[in-house]
């Protein structure tokens, strides 16, 4: 019977206050939806990466190398380290993207030239580090067939059955695409290389055909993944081992894999927490407002002897139903959104099995949202206990006598301080400002909501614009420039460099040409000398941002933050390094952030050396697109791209995913801000009816009453939005930096590269527009109805 009463009450209330309840419902649904989606994406990502790792068994430590190496030394190293469970040397042939084309039976064709990653042809491994197809099978293509990296499937719209053509020095070699592979090591766009799987026969043929550059990866599987770094230290202190390429540990592979989608999941959860906070603040306001509005009914219920618990139950029942419904709807919607948002995860990693956790994680998140909402409701509804029957019925007050007296005294104190005659401006504006001051406790809802919404809108967008800005390159340890050329796979790196540089220097369209050579120096580590890859060149005009110190001068070295941490040095310290046995002492001039090469790089001032492992050349031009195409055609072994393209491709996963988070936040933020403003004004106006009636009676026109409400809304909306924008622009960076630095990707301090017009002008204006629009909509009703109704009802 009691249950029925609660339900009936809930139903009646839902239909009577349809607008308020619908708005409240939308806000709750959006909060629940975002919370469930964020958690699901995170679960899917972790599941996807785990599942890929389970099947693919990536190495715990790997070292890349180009050129000759001592096989016996590797055998000895493995034998000397009992923690090595298994190891292998993977032979690879690298081809520049410009040498790869494809064709289809219907006559269409294309080139892979625009890809910036190195294309490594390999055969399938036997023991670990497997390359897998979509179903998780270890692929072993027969002769004449190739499995292409899954990233290329989307990027170049390749299909099974297409032909891939590799232009070798002894003619074109064609392979049929048999499928696409996922690569646990090189899945992320941050990875500089990607692998194609071919048969051993084709591999032998490609190796001897010429045009490619042979490379190896030495890979180790240890007893436990955490031993990867220790093994790396041991490896790097052994001088006989091959080491002129990148070295990567399991933790790094994992981090790079989880980086982009992980950031998005974090962004979504962060956004949903903001939204839930907004929803709770709003709920508190609505509930208190409802109690004040229905205080006479509550008084009657108490007068006829209903226990407080039963009255609380009436209200709680309604909110329980609403929250429950919101959680269910939000949860269901999140299933679809998660599907859409995790497409790239499923593709690049693995379709992790949907297990108990897939279901439990969002459900637990939703249950938490539910419990949070209900406990806040309970807390507020405890106020019903304090409502006194006489006060409620006679004065319509939710306060007991003591509180009424207290409030009256406070109002009187305030009223004594105000002076209408002393104010400036029109009377309605003076009244509005007095109102705002005396009812600040009510109106504060609007600035708080708009403050949080401004953060919700601006921070994800700032992250997106930062990660997609060409200036972001300075986080990647490279100076700002218009084009970048990489010489790595040329047969004669030095000769190519000479030709390229002289061609560029005689080209009037190019300026500020800077050449840097990569030199494998060594430095003392815990277990002897370790490799320190140093970019040597002229840094005097450098434009990269240094976190501490400055660019290196003669006899100085600058280190990436991760290297500085690893070597335990800071700006001003000295560091011993050696090259070909020749030791020297250099001073650390400063540190900078870098996300490339695992975040471990160094820069030294000096003559560009010959015989470097690879070269990077930067130049400025007004037409990077044309220059990169022209030079790319002319120098086949050189990868030359516009910097914008370089950043775009390298960070494409991150930026694509951030785009989703930024759009979701924008849309949800604006909807919620508009709804809450409307909700607030609706309740506020119904409570201010009498006040407006008095003002109308003594000679204020409706237009002036409307202007008052709009003015108050505009002032509070502006306040919140401006504060939120300023916070986002100043402390927001610190907040995001803190989040990023714990993720350990080599960025300790992120400086936003915002689109100022959009985020600091456009977004705030949109937000203010939405708030003001809601006020215009709600106040337009004030033109209707009789003044006496306002006074007497």
């Amino acid at each position: 019977m009691k249950e029925h009463l609660y339900l009936r009450y809930a139903r009646n209330d839902l239909t009577r206050n349809l607008g308020v309840n619908a708005a409240m419902m939308v806000i709750l649904v959006l909060s629940a939806f975002l919370m469930a989606t964020g958690c699901s994406v995170m679960e899917r990502l972790v599941g996807g990466v785990n599942s890929l790792f389970d099947q693919a068994k990536p190495p715990h430590f790997l070292q890349m190398h180009t050129g000759d190496y001592d096989r016996a030394a590797l055998d000895k190293f493995a034998a000397d380290h009992p923690e090595v469970k298994s190891w292998l040397i993977e032979d690879m042939v690298g081809y520049d993207s410009a040498r790869l084309t494809w064709s289809r039976d219907d006559g269409s064709s294309g080139t892979l030239a625009s890809s910036l990653t190195d294309n490594l042809f390999v055969t399938q491994n036997d023991d670990f580090d497997f390359l897998l197809d979509a179903a998780g099978n270890i692929v072993r293509p027969p002769a004449g067939q190739v499995y292409v990296p899954v990233a290329y499937e989307g990027k170049f719209e390749l299909k099974v059955g297409d032909d891939l053509h590799i232009r070798t020095d002894s003619g074109s070699k064609s392979l049929k695409i048999a499928g696409f592979v996922r690569d646990s090591q090189m899945a992320s766009s941050l990875s500089a290389a990607t692998r194609f799987v071919i048969s051993p026969e084709d591999f032998a043929a490609l190796g001897s055909a010429g045009g490619g550059s042979p490379e190896i990866i030495v890979e180790y599987l240890t007893d436990d993944a955490s031993q990867g770094s220790a093994l790396q230290t041991a490896y790097e202190s052994d001088q006989s081992l091959p080491r002129n390429g990148q070295a990567v540990t399991f933790d790094m592979i994992r981090l790079i894999n989880a980086f982009s989608d992980g950031l998005v999941a974090i962004a979504l959860v962060f956004a949903s927490l903001l939204l839930v906070t907004i929803a709770l603040i709003n709920l508190r306001f609505v509930l208190k407002g409802t109690m004040e509005e229905e205080v006479r009914q509550i008084g009657v219920m108490r007068a006829i002897g209903l226990p407080t618990k039963a009255i609380t139950g009436l209200y709680l029942g309604k909110y329980s139903i609403m929250t429950l419904l919101a959680c269910v709807i939000g949860g269901l919607l999140s299933v679809f959104a998660t599907g859409a948002l995790t497409q790239s995860i499923a593709k690049n990693y693995a379709n992790s099995d949907t297990g108990l956790l897939t279901f439990l994680v969002p459900v637990i998140a939703l249950v938490l949202v539910y419990l949070l909402v209900i406990s806040i409701c309970r807390h507020i509804l405890r106020g019903i206990r304090r409502i006194e029957v006489v006060g409620a019925l006679v004065q319509g007050s939710t306060l007991d006598e003591r509180r009424t007296a207290k409030r009256a005294a406070r109002d009187a104190r305030r009223a004594r301080r105000v002076s209408l005659a002393r104010g400036a401006g029109s009377m309605w504006r003076r009244l509005s400002l007095i109102d705002l001051r005396s009812e600040a406790g009510q109106w504060v809802l609007i600035p708080v909501v708009f403050f949080l919404t401004a953060l919700l809108l601006i921070l994800p967008m700032n992250l997106l614009s930062t990660f997609s800005s060409p200036k972001f390159i300075t986080y990647m340890g490279a100076p700002m420039s218009d084009v970048r050329a990489d010489i790595q796979f040329a047969e004669s790196v030095d000769a190519t460099r000479g030709e390229l540089v002289s061609a560029m220097e005689s080209d009037g369209r190019l300026s500020n040409i800077r050449v840097f050579g990569n030199v494998p120096y060594e430095t003392p580590g815990e277990e002897g000398w370790e490799t320190l890859r140093v970019e040597v060149g002229d840094y005097s005009g450098g434009t990269i941002q240094y976190l501490t110190g400055r660019q290196p001068g003669v006899g100085e070295i600058a280190l990436s933050t991760m290297n500085a941490d690893k070597l335990k040095v800071k700006a001003g310290d000295s560091l011993k390094i050696r090259l070909s046995g020749e030791e020297q002492q250099v001073t650390v001039s400063g540190t900078y952030q870098d996300v490339t090469s695992g975040g471990k790089t160094a820069k030294m001032q000096g003559e560009v050396p010959s015989n470097a492992a690879s070269y990077v050349i930067y130049a400025n031009t007004s037409d990077p697109g044309a220059i990169s195409k022209e030079y790319g055609d002319r120098f086949e072994d050189v990868k030359i791209v516009s910097m914008q393209e370089y950043v775009k491709q390298t960070l494409s996963y991150v930026t694509d995913a951030f785009k989703n988070a930024a759009i979701l936040s924008l849309v949800f933020g604006l909807i919620v801000a508009g709804l809450i403003t409307a909700l607030f004004l609706k309740l506020r106006l119904s409570r201010e009816r009498r006040r407006m009636g008095v003002l109308a009676a003594i000679g204020f026109a409706r237009g002036e009453l409307i202007r008052q409400v709009r003015f108050k809304t505009l002032v509070t909306v502006l306040l919140g939005t401006v504060l939120g924008t300023v916070f986002a622009a100043t402390l927001g960076e610190g907040l995001i930096s803190a989040l990023l630095s714990v993720s350990g990707i080599g960025i300790a301090q992120l400086h936003f590269i915002p689109q100022p017009l959009l985020v600091y002008i456009g977004y705030p204006l949109a937000l203010i527009g939405v708030g003001y629009g809601a006020a215009v909509l709600l106040t337009s009703r004030l033109n209707r109805g009789e003044t006496s109704d306002w006074l007497n009802r």
Binding site: A408, A412, A415, S419, V694, I698
Partner: protein, 253 residues
């Protein structure tokens, strides 16, 4: 032809928000002379307050016309009507209806300051004089919760007078007061009338009605009778009250 302060003819008011629509006023013709104190009486639900709100431009009559000082005010738009209320009319309600975030003086000042924003010093000294005259000058800086109901209602009369209106409308100004406060307020209103101000008041207290020059009686939205009482004097007060009561009884009040 006589010059009326207020004149209405054929006034009807129908509320469309009810189902079926409720017609509250059925064609009222009423004139108020300049300087007259007119009281509208009638049983609950007879339409007295509706009549007051309709002739004062707070609500719009469904049909008929209202002329104030010879000008038709029924056709004015909201802004123009508001200006008329601000500059030519004063209101006293059953409850004081003050803004809780302003002190007594600012509440009284509000309409007058709004009407004369450039003469705030003149307005303030006029209001201070009014407050002193009605015996509440000493509480002018108080908040509205710190004073008695009678003081509040006197402040309400001050507010109605602050803009120096041509006519004052009062809707049951003593309805929420005890007898001694009622006398306070009625003395104040009588004083206003003595200054030559036109007053239209709704009440169902015969003692209050006895203060008027003329009383009209409303039943079911129609004016059914009227009685002229002449100028009120304190010495004849009891006699007038008895007369009014007897007249009202004859009308079934």
């Amino acid at each position: 032809m006589r010059n009326y302060m207020l004149e209405c003819s054929g006034l009807t008011k129908t509320y469309l928000s009810t189902d079926p629509p409720t017609q509250v006023l059925h064609g009222i013709d009423l004139s108020v002379e300049e300087g007259e104190f007119l009281v509208i009486m009638g049983a609950s639900g007879s339409g007295k307050s509706t009549l007051l709100y309709s002739i004062s431009g707070m609500d719009r009559p469904t049909s008929g016309s209202v002329h104030l000082e010879g000008h038709d005010v029924t056709s004015l738009d909201d802004a123009a009507m508001s200006k008329v209320r601000l500059t030519r009319m004063g209101f006293v309600f059953q409850q004081a209806y003050f803004l809780s975030n302003l002190n007594i003086r600012d509440n009284v000042l509000l309409p007058a300051l709004k009407a004369n924003p450039k003469q705030s010093e003149t307005v303030v000294s006029r209001v201070d004089a009014l407050l002193d005259r009605f015996g509440i000058g000493h509480i002018k800086h108080h908040g509205i919760t710190e004073v008695s109901g009678g003081q509040l209602q006197r402040a309400s009369i001050c507010r109605a007078l602050a803009g120096e209106p041509a006519i004052v409308f009062a809707d049951e100004p003593t309805g929420a007061l005890n007898s001694s406060m009622t006398a306070e307020v009625m003395d104040a209103l009588t004083g206003v009338h003595d200054d030559g101000r036109t007053i239209v008041m709704v009440t169902h207290d015969p003692a209050c009605a006895a203060r008027a020059d003329r009383v009209v009686y409303l039943r079911d939205g129609l004016l059914v009778d009227s009685r002229s009482l002449g100028r009120w004097t304190r010495s004849a007060a009891v006699q007038r009250e008895d007369d009014v009561l007897a007249w009202l009884r004859s009308l079934g009040f």
